[in-house]
């Protein structure tokens, strides 16, 4: 479909670098699915839906900075939702979120919590103020925190919070290096990861987002650890030109 016009109704400052933009249109979606956010005249970028009617954005470059200039009544174009989200399985699940990776995991926590799952979240960030959606995860279950600088929770990486406990399913989103570390620690067939690749069409056509033969935009963005174990995941990715670059 063409981009739907979505008018921003509220902007919430989650952290100094992360804001949630609520809009006037809701999208039926599975947790982990994403939309393409068109900042007219600038760029169109992929964003997970952090609510039915919101995206939670970290300011990292041109498009996200442009979006940070937007406020109530400004409008963006939205295509989607696209891709396959997290498949909810088992009773006792573990969520591992690094930084803005909490965005796709937060609706998953809420949904699983409402369905009576036992939800444990490991939430990591650089520093205390950069922890996102802590309350949303807490309302769904137990939360353990890690910060790189030790300002909250464990001093270190969120991966260090992983205990030997057996979970029915493990869900993870964050920087690829961190996700790779998680994959090395857990049972691949019981884990799901939401991947980041350069998205152009979002329609499964252009091939820009491929992890080997798999399209992040259409076959993913969520893949099982098993599938990723047999792939270039954690080793290299493609830039906008399609060149291989080290992760």
């Amino acid at each position: 479909m063409k981009p739907v016009d979505a008018v921003i109704t509220k902007v919430v400052e989650e952290t100094p670098t992360i804001r949630t933009f609520f809009f006037d249109t809701s999208f039926e979606s599975e947790p982990g699915q994403f939309v393409m956010v068109w900042i007219r005249g600038v760029d169109e970028i992929p964003m997970a839906l952090s609510y039915d009617n919101a995206v939670t954005v970290q300011k990292v470059g041109t498009a996200t900075s442009a979006l940070f200039e937007f406020g109530e009544d400004d409008s963006i174009g939205i295509r989607g939702p696209f891709g396959n989200g997290f498949r909810i399985k088992g009773d006792n699940i573990l969520l591992i979120a690094g930084g803005v990776g909490a965005a796709p995991l937060s609706p998953l926590a809420e949904k699983a919590g409402l369905q009576g799952f036992e939800v444990t979240t490991l939430l990591g960030a650089k520093t205390k103020e950069e922890l996102v959606f802590r309350e949303r995860f807490e309302s769904a279950g137990k939360v353990m925190v890690a910060t790189d600088d030790g300002t909250a929770g464990k001093h270190g990486y969120v991966t260090q919070l992983i205990d030997g406990k057996d979970y029915d399913q493990i869900y993870c989103c964050g920087p690829e290096i961190m996700m790779k570390k998680v994959l090395d620690k857990v049972q691949p067939e019981k884990s799901q990861f939401s991947l980041h690749r350069y998205i152009k069409c979002g329609l499964g056509i252009c091939g820009a987002c491929c992890v080997d033969g798999l399209r992040v935009c259409k076959d993913g963005p969520v893949f099982t650890g098993e599938v990723l174990n047999r792939s270039e995941f954690g080793l290299y990715m493609r830039n906008e030109c399609g060149e291989k670059v080290k992760v």
């Binding site: 068109w38 409008s75 069409c201 499964g204 056509i205 252009c206 033969g213 270039e232």
Partner: protein, 296 residues
């Protein structure tokens, strides 16, 4: 029952992955080959790595898709390994290549090892490349000649429909020694977001693909079949076996499938089994339906 020889290549069926579709990595090309394509064509490769146009680069419209990728590609210099991975499927791998002049094209074709080359002189939205060249018969002839001199592999020339007379361009390719022509690349087009007045594509305009353009492509193939001695390969809007049959009846020796792969990664298997069932029921062979619309 669907196998054929095409410009010297042995194909298990006449269904190929079109250029620019899942064609940037060896892994994705191999996946399509493993899923039933008779051959796969790479993303168009140029001299230097390029990131293409700004997003939005592609958008769905009423009856198809509009794209202006802007020929993003990792450069042919980084691509032999991807071709080799794709070739692992045991299916021919065709390198689509583009450039600003005959020299660019022959440089690439002289170095890359591929089963055939498809010359993209037809992309409607990359300034100085593609259709900027493909609307000029002399340039098309020169480039084809240069590539033929640089490689022993078969050379196909992919044509743009955005011309007054596609036959004159097809004849130029034939004069240049092309082993086949491919028709069509996307149709020049545009969409505007009425909520803001913005052209939707980052590049403002682009090329239309998908079902909307099938009747346009059929007409181009029909005309080229009449005018040329070399085979015509059809592409544009194929989304099921009926479309493939229609192209072959129009005069396509083989076809390529692009946009429709997005929603059906197994489309090559689906089309080939549909074609087989149809031919069986009608008691026709692939050769019999080839160009049938001309013989009637």
């Amino acid at each position: 029952m669907l196998s054929l020889a095409l410009t010297g290549l042995e194909l298990k069926n006449p269904l190929m992955l079109a250029a620019g579709i899942m064609g940037t990595t060896g892994g994705s090309l191999k996946r399509i080959a493993d899923n039933g394509a008779g051959a796969v064509i790479t993303k168009s490769l140029g001299i230097e790595p390029a990131s293409g146009h700004n997003n939005p680069t592609m958008v769905e419209v009423d009856c198809g898709y509009l794209n202006a990728m802007g020929l993003p590609n990792p450069s042919y210099k980084n691509f032999q390994q991807e071709i080799d991975i794709a070739a692992g499927a045991g299916t021919p791998v065709i390198a689509s290549i583009f450039g600003g002049c005959a020299l660019d094209f022959s440089e690439i074709a002289g170095v890359l090892d591929a089963d055939a080359f498809e010359l993209n002189v037809s992309c409607p939205h990359a300034w100085g490349y593609g259709a900027q060249i493909g609307t000029d018969p002399d340039l098309v002839e020169d480039i084809t000649k240069a590539v033929k001199a640089a490689t022993d592999a078969p050379v196909w020339v992919k044509l743009t429909p955005n011309v007054t007379d596609i036959i004159s361009i097809g004849l130029a390719a034939q004069r240049g020694g092309a082993d086949a022509v491919v028709a069509i690349n996307t149709v020049r087009a545009m969409a505007i977001d009425i909520n803001s007045g913005y052209p939707i594509l980052g590049n403002r305009f682009g090329g239309l693909s998908g079902r909307a353009i099938k009747p346009v492509a059929i007409k181009c193939v029909y005309d080229l079949y009449d005018a040329l001695k070399i085979p015509v390969i059809g592409v544009g809007g194929i989304s099921d076996w009926k479309d493939a049959i229609e192209f072959i009846m129009a005069g396509a020796r083989a076809v390529e499938v692009g946009s429709a792969v997005g929603n059906n990664i197994s489309i090559f298997k689906d089309i080939s089994s549909g074609m087989e069932a149809f031919l069986m029921e009608k008691e026709w062979t692939l050769d019999e339906i080839y160009g049938m619309a001309h013989k009637i």
